[in-house]
Amino acid sequence: MEKRQLRIALAGNPNSGKTTIFNNLTGTRQKVGNWPGVTVEKKEGDIHKFGRDMRIIDLPGTYSLTPFSIEEIVARDFILDENPDVVIDIIDASNLERNLYLANQLRELDCKVIFALNMADVAKSRGFKIDAKKLSELLGVPVIFTVGNRNEGLDDLLKAAIALAESPLEIPEERRVRYSNDIESAIGELRDFIKLRVDATFSYNLRWTAVKLLEDDKIIKDRIREQVTAESESILTKAEKLRGKLGNRLDDDPEIVMTDDRYGFIAGTIKEVLSTSTLQRVDISRNIDLVLTNRFLGFPIFIFFIWAMFQTTFTLGAYPMEWIDAGVGGFSTFFEHVLPDSLLKDLIVDGIIAGVGSVIIFLPNILLLFFCIALFEDTGYMARAAFLMDKIMHLIGLHGKSFIPMLMGFGCSVPAIIATRSLESRKDRILTILITPFMSCSAKLPVYIALAGTFFAAHAGTVIFIIYLFGIFVAIVTGRLFRTALLRGEDAPFVMELPPYRVPMMKNLLIHMWDRSKMFLKKMGGIILAGSIVIWVLSSFPQNIQYSKDYDAQIAMVNQSYEQVMPGNEDDENSLRQQKDAQIHEISIAKKAERAEKSYIGRIGKAIEPVFQPIGIDWRGSVALLTGFVAKEIVISTMGVLYAAEGDGESDALSNALLKSGMTPLSALSMMIFVLLYIPCLATIGAITRETGSVKWTLFNIAFTTGVAWGMSFIVYQGGRLLGF
C-alpha cells in the first residue's frame, strides 16, 4: 500500500538557521509562492526519503505565536488549520532560553513537535552543554542535534519526524507549561465551561483555547464566533469575566503575567538541561559592532556599503545589460528579415520584442541588487542598517527598515517595492510602497538628460540634482502627511533583535536571489507584455492614414533625381549617396511623425492636450508622457518620433528639434517635474498591486502621484511665468 504524503512544517526564530535547513532538506525542489491573501513568502518542497513522500513547508520565522505580525498569524494559522503531521521547531542551541519561548508556544498548540537543536557546534564552542535527553524527558518532545550548514543530523531529524508522525499524539498533562495557581484555576474553569458548549467538530484543543481567550486573543475570539455559533457569546462573556477577575487579583493584564510565567517555566527547564562552562566566550559580533555601529564610523561605513551596492548593481550590471541589449537587437533584426512585411511582423518586432526586451534588460540589475540585499540580510548587517537609520526615518513616520526599499527606489521601484516585505507592520509597508515611486528611478534619468541638457546646457547637472532632491522632499512631505492623515496609529515598535554576524552561505544567497528575480520576471513580464501590445496597437492603428503629403512619391523623386546626376567618379558618388540617404531619412521621419500624430495615440494626445496646456506641455509631450506609462524610457523615444527627430536623447537632433518646437526652459522644467512625480510605470503598478494586495491602494497611488505631479508642475510653470521666465 502506498503510504500517504507526510506534511512537515519547519518553525523557528528568525536567524535560527531555519532557511539553511530547509534549503538542505529540499535542495532545488522548492516552490516559492505566497501564503493565501498575504505577501509573506511561502516556501515548500516535496522530497522522497526513507521510503516516504514528504512535503516540507517553511513557516515564517517568528519569535512567538502571539498573532501580532502577519508572519506570526500565518505560521499559527497553518498549524491550526492545516494540521501538519509534524512541526519541527528549529532552535538556535546557542540561544536556548529565548528560543524556548516559541518552542513552548508550539507545545501548547497541541501538535506533534520535534526540537532541532541547531548550530550545535556554535553552542559547543561557546561553552554551552545541553542535556538533550533531559530536555526531551522534561518537555515530552523528541530532541535532535543538528548543524544545518554542514548537513549534520538532518537524516536523524527526518527519521524522528516520520516516527513521530506515526505515533499517537500525547503530551502528558504534567509536562505542560504550568501557570501560577490563579491562572491555572481560571484556565480549568474556562476549559470545562467551553467543553459543555461545543460539540465534537470543534477542532482546537480546549485547554489551549481557554489560554488564548484569557489572553484576549482577537483571532481565536473570531474563530469561536464562527465555529460555535449558538454558545459563542456566552463563552466569550465568561472569558471576559474571568479575565477581569484575574486582572484584579494579579494587578496586571493576564497575558503579561502568562508571558512571565512561560519565561519562568523556561528558566526552570534551562536550569536542569543547560550547563555553561566557565570558558569566557568572546562575543565576536560585539567586536564587529564596535566598528560597524560606531558613533563616528557607523554612518561613513554604512554609506560606503550602500555606495558599493549601487556600484555593483549599476556598473557591473551594465556589461550583461549590453549583451542582453545586443541579443534583443539581434533577435529583432532576425525577425525583421525572416518574416514577410505584415501587421504580425510589426506586432512581433515593435510590440512584443521591444516591450519584453525593455524588461529583460533589467534582469542583471535585479539579480545583482537582490544578491546584495541577500548578502546584507544573511550576514546580519541589515538589522544594523535599520539600527543606524531608525532615528532619521522615524522623523518621516517610518521604521528604520524602510530605508533600504526607499534607497533601492533610486535604482528601480519594482525590486524596491518587493523589498518592503522586510517590514513588519502593514501600515509601514503600505506607506513605504506609496512614497517609494517618488525616489527618482534610473529609467527617468535619460529624460532629464535630454531635457536639462537641451535647455539648461551649462547647469544641466545642477538641475538634475535638484530634481532628485525635489523627489526626496516630496516623499518626506507625503510620508508625514499619510502618517498623520491616512495611516494613523501607533508606530510599529522597534523592539528588534540584532542577530549575531554570520558568514553567509553561497547556496542560500543564490537561492534567495533567484527566487526573487524569478518572481519579478514572471509577474512583471506579463504586465509589460500586455502594456506594450496595447501601446503598439494604439500607435499603429488606424492603418490607412490620409497623409498630408505623398511621402513615398517624394522619396521616389529624390531617388530619381540622384539617379540622373550620378557621375562615374567613385568619391563623388559616395558623398552624393550620403546626401541622398540623408534626404530620404528626413522624409521618412516626417512621415513617421505624421503617422504618430494621426494614430489613435496621437489623437488621444490631442484630446488630452487641454489638461497639459496649463503646465506647459503640448500634445507631443502629452503623448510621450502617456507612453511613459509602460516604461519611463519610452518617453524619450516617443518624443524622438513625435518631434521628428530620430534620436536616443543624447543626439543633437532631438535637442535641435526640441529647441525649435516652442518648448522653453520653464516648460522643460515643468515636464521634468511631471516625469519625476507622475504615475509609476506598469511594472511598478503591478508590484504595488501585488505587494499591497489591494486594488484600492493602487488606484489611490496612481491618482495621488499624478495629482501631485500635475499640481507641482502647475505651480512651477505658472509661477515661473508670473515671475517672467
Binding site: 501580532f68 497575558e255 559580533s285 538589522a383 533583535e497 540584532l498 542577530p499
Partner: protein
C-alpha cells in the same frame, strides 16, 4: 530609574515593564522580562535607538520604548 537613563556599559536589572499591551508583550517576548539582567551595549550614533544584551542576545529598542521600562542599575558607569 528608567532604562533610557542608563549609560553605555552599565549593567542593570529589569523591575517593571509599562506601556500599552502590544508593546509590552513584544518586549517580553524578546526576553526582556521582570528580573532579567541587562547590559547596555550602546546608543546608536544619533542617540536613538539603543542596543542592549539580555539572555545572551542583542536587542535594540527606541529610547521612547525604553522609557517604559523601570530598572535598577547594578553597576556604575
Amino acid at each position: 530609574m528608567r532604562l533610557n537613563e542608563m549609560r553605555e556599559g552599565q549593567h542593570g536589572r529589569i523591575l517593571r515593564i509599562g506601556g500599552e499591551t502590544r508593546l509590552r508583550r513584544r518586549i517580553l517576548e524578546m526576553g526582556l522580562t521582570k528580573g532579567s539582567d541587562i547590559y547596555i551595549e550602546k546608543y546608536a550614533p544619533l542617540k536613538d535607538p539603543l542596543e542592549l544584551s539580555v539572555r545572551g542576545c542583542h536587542v535594540s529598542l527606541r529610547v521612547k520604548e525604553a522609557a517604559e521600562i523601570d530598572v535598577e542599575a547594578l553597576t556604575d558607569y
